[in-house]
Structure formats: structure tokens, C-alpha cells
């Protein structure tokens, strides 16, 4: 007889789940007329979950027979996921109204996906991991193809689905290998067995497959191929959502899996991580140069950024994990801000996506150009903007761990990367303006742009909350 599990640690998830079910029912019965209410409800539910996450007690609590854990790490990452989801939901509003995407399913799917992410972050067992991952992925496949009357969008959704299925297969195969060689699926149990017996080749291969599946989710090279196509094809707010929340959840999962159950195998998995980190940074930097579409550019940018985050993971130390968390926090702000700016690129109601369309923005729309410029400089890693500190923490951790080559390659690729970020600034400030974008850009976009660019600009003034929070979160992974 199993005792009824404690539900206190899953309060945020329950809030989101309940809201998602209510929204679904409400939407079905009210039809299109209920869309606005559903969106509001989604926002409120996620905000409530955010409050619940922040207000939750600080110690580590497990429930569901150890499948689910709530600790400082999961809380910090959940907060990031929820903030990302809320920001992208806000940003999407105007776009959806204009582009006739006012279907109530959109917020419902977003909410379910967010629920999956929250579960991923808290997963403490291979089964829970897979459950969360799939719950996250399935709604994402659908919303990638949300504009189903549009070829590009459906193509993106289909590609994402097929490749996602493949990656799920890889991941599951890895899980089964690990289970087969350790006899357990619980993270704590795996760690115990590995400490006792050492890591056999079977477990290592399982770990490689598992890492491959997770690398797909964070879009690290060579499992990144879907990213540019999906970002370009999917509706822009969806791309923004893809770039923000799921990346954070997947990175969180990556961190927990490698540090928690495979903590003793750091020497083995470090090689995988170093390889994909270098490959991601190099490809992210070089491939972006030739892009003419700003969304594709952002896709390569996110690939490169994941590479930098993985540099911190490669260090395999508490400091490294702290660096990754800080990096992801800053990345969230920069990405959300950049996509908000991209959403403001409209000529007479039509979205444009060419990088060259930004020419002369500083003259036609100075505040937007300023904000975009700040975000681009931050992505390029120019001090004193936040992006610089993100890179600083991960590179510092890598250097402390003795990974000099990795740190140097990271620095070199960030020089290459600076080229295309700063070229956008040059386009906006020094080129002849073309047709001006529509004024005004909309209240919700203004809000997101202002908040994120202020965060990026003023991070260095008071970085303590993020840095200390990240330190606490990292400490939770290294008991």
C-alpha cells in the first residue's frame, strides 16, 4: 500500500495544470470568443505559479516516491522558465491579433508545454525526465506549425516533430541502457551504483545517447539542425518562445542529469560536453555571418549561446554550474528583448524579417534602435552590459577547471560573433534608412523591450540577486 504522495512540492505544477484544464474546457465551450480570457488566464496562472515557486520553502523536498524533487536549483530554473513563458506570451499578443492567430489553443498549448518544462526541471528519475520532456515537446511541435495554412510553418512543425521523435528515441535508448547497466532509474540510485561499481562502457554509451537527446533540446551542434529552419518557419512569437523557455528547461535538465547521477563520471562526460560546446560556439559564430534573415540569425545566435553555457557545464564544478545559471538568466533577457524588437519590425502591418530592413533604424525609430543596439552589444559580450558578465562567469569557471583551450576558443568565437551583432548596430546607425517601421510598436512590446534592455544595461549595477540566487541553486546540485 503506497501512501498518498505529498503535494506541497508540486504546488506550482498543480496550479499550471489546473489552469490549463480550465482553459481548455472554457475555450472549447466559448470558442473563439473566449480567446482573450484564456490568454489572460494563462498569464495569471503562470504568474501565480511564479509566486508559488518563489514563496516555496528553501530546503530540498522530494515526492512521488523520489520521482520529483523541489530544491533551490529547480526553483531558480522554474522561475526563469515561467518568466520566459510569461514574457513571450505577452509579446505574442499583438502579433496574434494582427496575424489572425487568435485561437484559444495557443495559450493552452503554451501552458501545457510550460508544465512539461517545470516537470523536467524537477525530474529526479529517468522516467520523470522523459515524462516532462515529452509533455514539453508535444505542444511545441503543434505550435511550431500553428499557422497551418502557411507552408513554412507546417514544414517547420513537421521537421521539428520528426527530428524530435528521433531524438526522443536516442534519449530513450540511452535511458534503457543506463537502466540495464545500473538496475535503477532514480538519479540517486544511479549515482550510488556508479560510485560503487564505477562506470562501465554500457553506462557510458547510455550517457552519450542521453546527452544526445538532451543536446537536441538545447540545440547544440551536431543536434542543432532543426533550429534555424524552425525558428525561421514558425511564427515569430513561437520562435521567441522556443528560444527562451524550453532552452532553459533543457539546460536545467542537462545540468541535473550530468551533475547529479553522473557526477562521478565527470571525466567521461566532460569530453562530450567540450566537443559539443566547441562545435556549437564555432558553428554559431561562423554560420550566422551569412544569414540575411534576422530569425535565422537569432537561431544561430542561440546555438552559439548554448555553446557558451555548456562551457560552464564542461567545467563540471559548482562554480561552472553557477556560471551556466547566470548565463541562462542573462540569455533569457537578451533573447526575449531581441525577439521583441524583431516583432516590432513591421511595414504597414506586414512583418519583415530581413536584416537589411533594419537599415537606418536609428533615424526612423531612435528608441527602438537604442534598445536593439544595447541588446546586440550585450549579445556580443561588450562590457559593461550583462552579456559580458555571462561570458565572464562561464569562461572563468572553465579556466579554473583548467580548460584553457576551451576558454580561448570561446573567446575567439565570441570575437567572430561580435561581428554580426555589431554589424546590425552599424546597419541601424550608419546606413541610409529604408521604409520606416510602423509606429507605435505596441504597448506589450514596449514593455518587454524596456524591461529587458534595462536589465541588460543595468545588470552590472546590482548583480547580487542573480549571482547569489545562482550560487544557491548551484550549491543545491552539489550536496
Amino acid at each position: 500500500m503506497i501512501a498518498f504522495p505529498s503535494l506541497a512540492p508540486v504546488l506550482p505544477e498543480l496550479l499550471v495544470l489546473g489552469a490549463a484544464l480550465v482553459m481548455l474546457m472554457y475555450g472549447v465551450f466559448r470558442g473563439a470568443a473566449g480567446e482573450r480570457a484564456v490568454t489572460w488566464l494563462a498569464g495569471i496562472a503562470m504568474a501565480a505559479a511564479l509566486v508559488a515557486v518563489i514563496a516555496a520553502p528553501g530546503d530540498s523536498r522530494a515526492t512521488f516516491e523520489g520521482l520529483f524533487v523541489s530544491d533551490a536549483f529547480s526553483r531558480f530554473m522554474k522561475a526563469l522558465v515561467l518568466i520566459g513563458a510569461i514574457l513571450t506570451l505577452i509579446m505574442a499578443q499583438g502579433f496574434r491579433e494582427r496575424e489572425r492567430m487568435m485561437h484559444f489553443e495557443y495559450p493552452v498549448l503554451i501552458t501545457f508545454a510550460t508544465l512539461g518544462m517545470l516537470m523536467m526541471v524537477s525530474a529526479d528519475d529517468l522516467m520523470a525526465l522523459y515524462l516532462g520532456l515529452e509533455l514539453q515537446s508535444l505542444p511545441l511541435y503543434v505550435i511550431a506549425a500553428f499557422k497551418r495554412d502557411q507552408e513554412r510553418s507546417t514544414e517547420a512543425g513537421l521537421k521539428y516533430f520528426i527530428l524530435g521523435a528521433l531524438s526522443s528515441g536516442l534519449l530513450l535508448y540511452g535511458c534503457s541502457l543506463i537502466y540495464g547497466f545500473t538496475g535503477t532509474t532514480g538519479f540517486a540510485g544511479i549515482a550510488e551504483r556508479l560510485a560503487a561499481d564505477g562506470a562501465g562502457i554500457g553506462v557510458i554509451v547510455g550517457m552519450v545517447f542521453l546527452s544526445a537527446g538532451l543536446a537536441f533540446k538545447v540545440s547544440a551542434v551536431p543536434f542543432h539542425m532543426w533550429t534555424p529552419d524552425v525558428y525561421e518557419g514558425a511564427p515569430t512569437p513561437v520562435a521567441a518562445f522556443f528560444a527562451a523557455a524550453p532552452k532553459i528547461a533543457a539546460v536545467a535538465l542537462f545540468l541535473r542529469v550530468l551533475v547529479d547521477p553522473f557526477g562521478d563520471m565527470v571525466d567521461q562526460w566532460r569530453q562530450v560536453i567540450v566537443f559539443i560546446a566547441i562545435a556549437s560556439m564555432v558553428l554559431g559564430a561562423f554560420a550566422a555571418i551569412y544569414q540575411t534573415n534576422i530569425k535565422r540569425l537569432m537561431a544561430y545566435s542561440s546555438i552559439g549561446n548554448i555553446g557558451y553555457a555548456l562551457v560552464g557545464l564542461a567545467a563540471g564544478t559548482e562554480q561552472g554550474v553557477q556560471g551556466v545559471i547566470i548565463y541562462m538568466t542573462i540569455y533569457l533577457a537578451m533573447t526575449a528583448g531581441a525577439f521583441a524588437c524583431i516583432l516590432a519590425m513591421r511595414h504597414r502591418g506586414q512583418m519583415v524579417e530581413g536584416i537589411s530592413d533594419l537599415a537606418g533604424l536609428a533615424r526612423t525609430h531612435p528608441p527602438l534602435a537604442l534598445a536593439f543596439g544595447i541588446l546586440m552589444f550585450s549579445l556580443a559580450g561588450i562590457p559593461p552590459l550583462a552579456g559580458f558578465f555571462g561570458k565572464l562567469y562561464v569562461f572563468l569557471a572553465a579556466v579554473e577547471a583548467g580548460l584553457y583551450t576551451l576558454a580561448v576558443i570561446g573567446l575567439l568565437t565570441s570575437v567572430v560573433g561580435a561581428f554580426y551583432y555589431v554589424r546590425i548596430v552599424k546597419l541601424m546607425y550608419f546606413d541610409e534608412p529604408g521604409e520606416p517601421f510602423d509606429h507605435p510598436i505596441g504597448g506589450e512590446l514596449t514593455l518587454v523591450v524596456v524591461v529587458t534592455s534595462l536589465f541588460v544595461l543595468l545588470f552590472f549595477v546590482y548583480p547580487m540577486p542573480v549571482v547569489a540566487g545562482a550560487a544557491g541553486a548551484a550549491a543545491a546540485l552539489f550536496p
Partner: protein
């Protein structure tokens, strides 16, 4: 008071240079001219007290460097030699300053010009008052710098910039030798102050030193290295090419720097180092030969030049040669005496030429002058005085100083002395010729300028003519006033110049045969007569002569092809080397592999990287599987351990 004499020009230069905008053109003129006139007045007093009354004054300002055995101070050392130089420098400089007020009256950069002039004067005074070689070098480089700044004063003219750079570079070659000489002095003597070095010199004589793998006499080496410096600064044969080009500078600059003061620094330095030169027979011979050759070569070139300033420039070059071979035959006193008289009449000639150029609306080509002597009588008279002094006709200054030099050379009774004497006499004849050629072409004959210029011909303002009277007085009287002192038995120099007892050329000079004394004057007059005949009586003869002696004429006219030779040997290869290093070394190698190469590689890489993105799902899936396969094999085959 002695300190004030040296530092007043510096003060004026700082005020005019940095606050010229504040005090305006008029203000800077007043400040600099005031300082210089005061300085010149003190210079006269110094000359009287030190040279006539025989006080030697030493003022130590403060320690400059004290590092191990290397120790020297900023110090002012006034002995007779210095006093004479201070006198020449301050007086000529003051005259030039005042003259510049008129000559440069319409220039937009008056404060800068006046500041440079004053700074130059300060540097020159530092040079002559130094009591150690390092301070000498400081002044030496200071005048070099000012010379560069002043030649290139009209920096919008490409030719002026080229001339300034040329002067600087050619001087660098000399300075390099000079610096090596100072290093050698420190190496040998472990000191750089004159007193110690000169006192120890007799002990060093005869020792040898390894230099560039060869065993050489220590003092000869030092003297020759120092003399290379002197050759650069004093435009002796081989390193003389910068001086004529330096005429690109404003005329007062030519008068001050390239006639009366800076170019004489080399002569001064050789005289100053007479305790060293006296001990090296070889060095003295070299000095004599180089000086005599320069005197002759420059005089020949002067015969055929058409630019009024270039004629005078080559004449300067030639006269410097006289001074050097005077030093070479141990007649240092005569050399310095000629330096002083030359300072007066050459400055007079240059400033007179400046008046002519001023009158002719900035025309410098003598072929476009002529027939203006009635229009500018004062200038004409002054130019006559200068030319008479230059040609060495009695009783003008040049007569005394040039004759004593030539007589000393004759009296040296050595091979080098004879060489110097005959070349010197030939140069004297040519001096007479080119001086009067200049006078005749400029002032006489038919007017060859166009009517517009002729209508504008006018006498220069008083501020330009009055200073010239001072120089004219010097040109007339300096000779017989100074003859007894400077060229006498050496008591006048009171130890500031050392001559070995066996070097008696100067004393013997008073006992040479009459023909030796008369020859230069007679030949000078002959030169004048020839010039009269060729340019007044039979003007067409000059051209016919040039035609019949075409090869010789071209050789001389093209300045013995020195510039072409140097272009071929040094400038062109250096340019080619520089061009090669620029195109291949920097452009292809450093840029090509570095910035450009990396940028190109980045572009190629990024094109390839974006081509990876084919759009086909099976390509993507393939990449994923290959990735997994690679990672698994990495572990399977033990590489990852």
C-alpha cells in the same frame, strides 16, 4: 647674467610658442626680438670679459645624470672660444630676429616662426656653452631639430617638406657618427666632460682599440667619428647635399642657420676638441683634405647656379671648407676667425638676397632679374659690401680671415697643406667670379622680369635695412679688429684651443713669401674681371662657353651628380626595400595571413557552415546519428578512456 644670456631665448621661445595666440603677432615679435637684443648685449659683455679680460667662467646649473661612472651636469662653460661663438650667435641672431619682423610681416604664422628662431638660438647657445659632450650633443640635436622645423616652415609646400626631411636624414648620418664618437670617448675615458677628457688625452695617444674587427688608433677613431658628425652638420663634401635644398626655408632662416650659426657648429666642435685632434695626425689630414675638397667642389657648383640663394648656399659650403682645412693644419684660431667674419658677411649676403627677393615679388631665379640696381640702392650697396668681404678683398673682413687660412695652409709645408692651399686659391678665384656674377645678373644688365614685377620693385622697409647695417659694419671692420687677436700667437685663445708646439703653421703664416699673400687677392680680382667680361661686356659669351664645355658645364651644373648618385645608391634601394616590405612583408604576409586572411577564412567558413543547412530532414537526422556514432566510437575505441 651669463645664464640669462643663454636662457632668455628659451624663455622667449616658450612665450611665443605656447602663448603666441594670446599675445598676438606683434607681441611675439616684441618678446623674441627684445630677448634676443638683450641677449646680444650680454653677449658683447661676455665677449669683452672673457675673451679680452681673460676670465674663464663656469656655472654649474644642476646634475643631469649620475649613474655609475657616468656623471655630468648641466653646466655653462665660458672660455674665449665659447665667448667668440656666443658673440657671433647672439648678434647675428638678434639681427635676423629684427629683420624677420619685416620679412615675415605678412606670414600667417608669425609667433611660430619667431618661437622656432628663438628656440634655435637657445639650442645653439647650449651647444657652444656645453662643458661636456652630452650637453654638446643636446645642443647639436636641438639645432638639428630647429633646422628641420624651419626648413619645413612653409609646410604646405611639398618641396619644403622634402628638403626638411632630407636635411634631417643627412644630419642623422652625421649625428650617428658623432654619437658613436661620444660612446667611444666614454668607453676610453670613462668620462664625458671636456676637462677630464682633454686632460687624459695625451695619455691615451698611441693606444689602439678594436673597432669593427680592426685594430685602430684610439684617438684617430674618436676624432674621425666626431668629424663625421661635423661633416653632417657643416655640410662637408659627401654630406653637403642637404644645405642647398635647405634654401626652401624662409630667407632669414637661411641667413641665421645655414650661413652664420648652425653650420659652423662642426667647425666649433673640431676647434673645441683640438686637444684630441692635435694628437691624431691622421685625423688632421682627413680634416684638411675634406675641407679643401669641399671648398673647391662647392665653389665650382656655385659658378653656374641660377637661384640667388643657392649660389650663396654653395658659397657657404665652400667657406666652411676653408674653416675646416684651417683646423686641419692646426690653425684653429684662423678657422674660428673666419667663422666669425663669415658669420657677418654671409648673413649680410643672405639677408640682402632676401631684400632682393622681397623686391622682386618672391622671385629667386637670377635669370629673371637684372637692371634693378638704381631702384634698390641700399640693398645694392649692402650686397656689394657682402660680396667684397666674401671675395676677400682688402680691407674687408674676408680678406684677413681667408688670407691667414691660405697662408697657414701654405706654411704647413705638408702634402695635405699644399693640396688645401692650391684648391683654396682656386676656390678664391671662383668666389670672386660667382659673387660678381651674382651681382651683375641680379642688379645689372637688361631687366628680365616682366613689367608687373618691375613696377613693384621697391626698397625694403627700414626694419629690414637697419639690421643689415650692423652686419655691414661687421663685414667691414671685424677683419682688421680681430686679426691681431684671433690669428696671433695663440695667447688670445688662452688655452681654449690646444695646439702642439710642433704644429706651427699659424705662426709661420706670417712669414710666407709675398706671392702667397698676394695670390688669392689677385686671383679673386681676376675672377671678378672675368665675371664683368662675361656678364656685362659680352653677355652672349657665357652661353657660348657653357656650350663649348658642355660636359664640364653639365657636371658642375648638376652639382657633381651627388644627388643622383645618392638617389641611385641609397634612396632608390631604400625605397624599393621599403616598398617591398610594405607590399610583400606587411600587405601579403602580415595582412594577408593576419587580418585579411582571417577575415577571408571566416567568410569561407561561414559560407560552408550555412551550406550545411540543406533543408532536408534526412540530412539533419543523418548529422545527428553521425554525431552520436562519433561520440560512442570515441569511447568505444578507448580514446576517451
Amino acid at each position: 647674467m651669463y645664464t640669462a644670456c643663454v636662457f632668455l631665448p628659451l624663455l622667449a621661445a616658450i612665450i611665443a610658442g605656447f602663448f603666441g595666440r594670446l599675445i598676438g603677432d606683434r607681441g611675439s615679435q616684441w618678446v623674441t626680438c627684445g630677448a634676443l637684443v638683450l641677449s646680444a648685449a650680454i653677449g658683447l659683455v661676455i665677449c669683452y670679459q672673457v675673451a679680452i679680460q681673460g676670465q674663464v667662467v663656469d656655472i654649474t646649473l644642476f646634475t643631469w645624470v649620475s649613474s655609475g661612472t657616468l656623471e655630468f651636469a648641466w653646466a655653462l662653460h665660458f672660455d674665449t672660444l665659447t665667448a667668440v661663438m656666443v658673440f657671433v650667435v647672439t648678434v647675428v641672431s638678434a639681427v635676423v630676429h629684427v629683420y624677420s619682423v619685416g620679412y615675415m610681416g605678412h606670414d600667417p604664422h608669425i609667433p611660430r616662426f619667431m618661437a622656432y628662431l628663438s628656440l634655435f638660438t637657445f639650442s645653439m647657445l647650449m651647444l657652444v656653452t656645453a662643458d661636456n659632450f652630452i650637453q654638446l650633443y643636446f645642443g647639436w640635436e636641438g639645432v638639428g631639430l630647429c633646422s628641420y622645423l624651419l626648413i619645413g616652415f612653409w609646410y604646405t609646400r611639398p618641396s619644403a617638406n622634402a628638403a626638411a626631411i632630407k636635411a634631417f636624414l643627412v644630419n642623422r648620418i652625421g649625428d650617428f657618427g658623432f654619437a658613436l664618437g661620444i660612446f667611444a670617448i666614454f668607453l676610453v675615458f670613462q668620462a664625458v666632460d671636456y676637462e677630464t677628457v682633454f686632460a687624459m688625452a695625451p695619455d691615451i695617444a698611441g693606444q689602439s682599440l678594436e673597432f669593427l674587427g680592426a685594430e685602430v688608433d684610439t684617438l684617430t677613431l674618436i676624432c674621425l667619428l666626431l668629424f663625421i658628425g661635423a661633416m653632417g652638420k657643416s655640410a662637408q663634401i659627401g654630406l653637403h647635399t642637404w644645405l642647398p635644398d635647405a634654401m626652401e626655408g624662409p630667407t632669414p632662416v637661411s641667413a641665421l642657420i645655414h650661413a652664420a650659426t648652425m653650420v659652423t657648429a662642426g667647425v666649433f666642435m673640431v676647434a673645441r676638441c683640438s686637444p684630441l685632434f692635435e694628437l691624431s695626425e691622421t685625423a688632421l689630414v682627413v680634416v684638411t683634405v675634406v675641407g679643401a675638397s669641399t671648398a673647391f667642389m662647392a665653389a665650382t657648383i656655385g659658378l653656374v647656379q641660377n637661384d640667388i640663394k643657392r649660389v650663396i648656399a654653395y658659397s657657404t659650403c665652400s667657406q666652411l671648407g676653408y674653416m675646416f682645412f684651417a683646423c686641419g693644419v692646426s690653425a684653429y684660431g684662423a678657422g674660428i676667425f673666419h667663422l666669425m667674419t663669415h658669420g657677418f658677411f654671409k648673413a649680410l649676403l643672405f639677408l640682402g638676397a632676401g631684400c632682393v627677393i622681397h623686391a622682386m615679388s618672391d622671385e629667386q631665379d637670377m635669370r629673371k632679374m637684372g637692371g634693378i640696381w638704381r631702384m634698390i640702392p641700399a640693398t645694392y650697396a649692402l650686397m656689394w659690401i657682402g660680396s667684397l668681404a666674401l671675395a676677400g678683398l682688402p680691407p674687408f673682413a674676408g680678406f684677413f680671415s681667408k688670407d691667414i687660412i691660405l697662408e697657414s695652409a701654405y706654411a704647413a709645408h705638408s702634402g695635405a697643406g699644399g693640396y688645401a692651399f692650391w684648391l683654396g686659391v682656386a676656390a678664391a678665384a671662383m668666389t670672386g667670379f660667382y659673387s660678381w656674377r651674382l651681382l651683375f645678373m641680379t642688379f645689372h644688365g637688361p631687366a628680365r622680369a616682366d613689367e608687373k614685377v618691375m613696377a613693384h620693385v621697391h626698397e625694403s622697409p627700414k626694419i629690414m635695412i637697419l639690421p643689415l647695417l650692423v652686419l655691414a659694419a661687421g663685414s667691414v671692420f671685424a677683419g682688421w679688429l680681430g686679426y691681431g687677436l684671433a690669428a696671433g700667437d695663440g695667447a688670445f685663445w688662452a688655452g681654449s684651443i690646444t695646439v702642439l708646439p710642433e704644429h706651427t703653421a699659424l705662426a709661420d703664416a706670417h712669414h710666407v713669401p709675398l706671392w702667397v699673400k698676394a695670390l688669392p687677392t689677385v686671383l679673386g680680382l681676376g675672377g671678378i674681371a672675368l665675371a664683368y667680361w662675361l656678364y656685362i661686356r659680352a653677355p652672349e659669351m657665357a652661353a657660348r662657353l657653357a656650350e663649348s664645355l658642355r660636359a664640364l658645364y653639365l657636371f658642375i651644373f648638376n652639382k657633381w651628380y651627388f644627388d643622383e648618385l645618392y638617389d641611385r645608391i641609397f634612396v632608390e634601394p631604400a625605397k624599393r626595400l621599403g616598398h617591398g616590405l610594405w607590399k610583400v612583408g606587411d600587405g601579403d604576409l602580415i595582412d594577408g595571413v593576419g587580418p585579411d586572411g582571417i577575415a577571408a577564412a571566416v567568410l569561407i567558413l561561414s559560407r560552408r557552415a550555412s551550406r550545411l543547412q540543406s533543408g532536408y530532414v534526412y540530412h539533419y537526422a543523418f548529422a545527428m546519428l553521425i554525431g552520436v556514432a562519433f561520440l560512442v566510437s570515441w569511447y568505444m575505441f578507448g580514446a576517451g578512456g
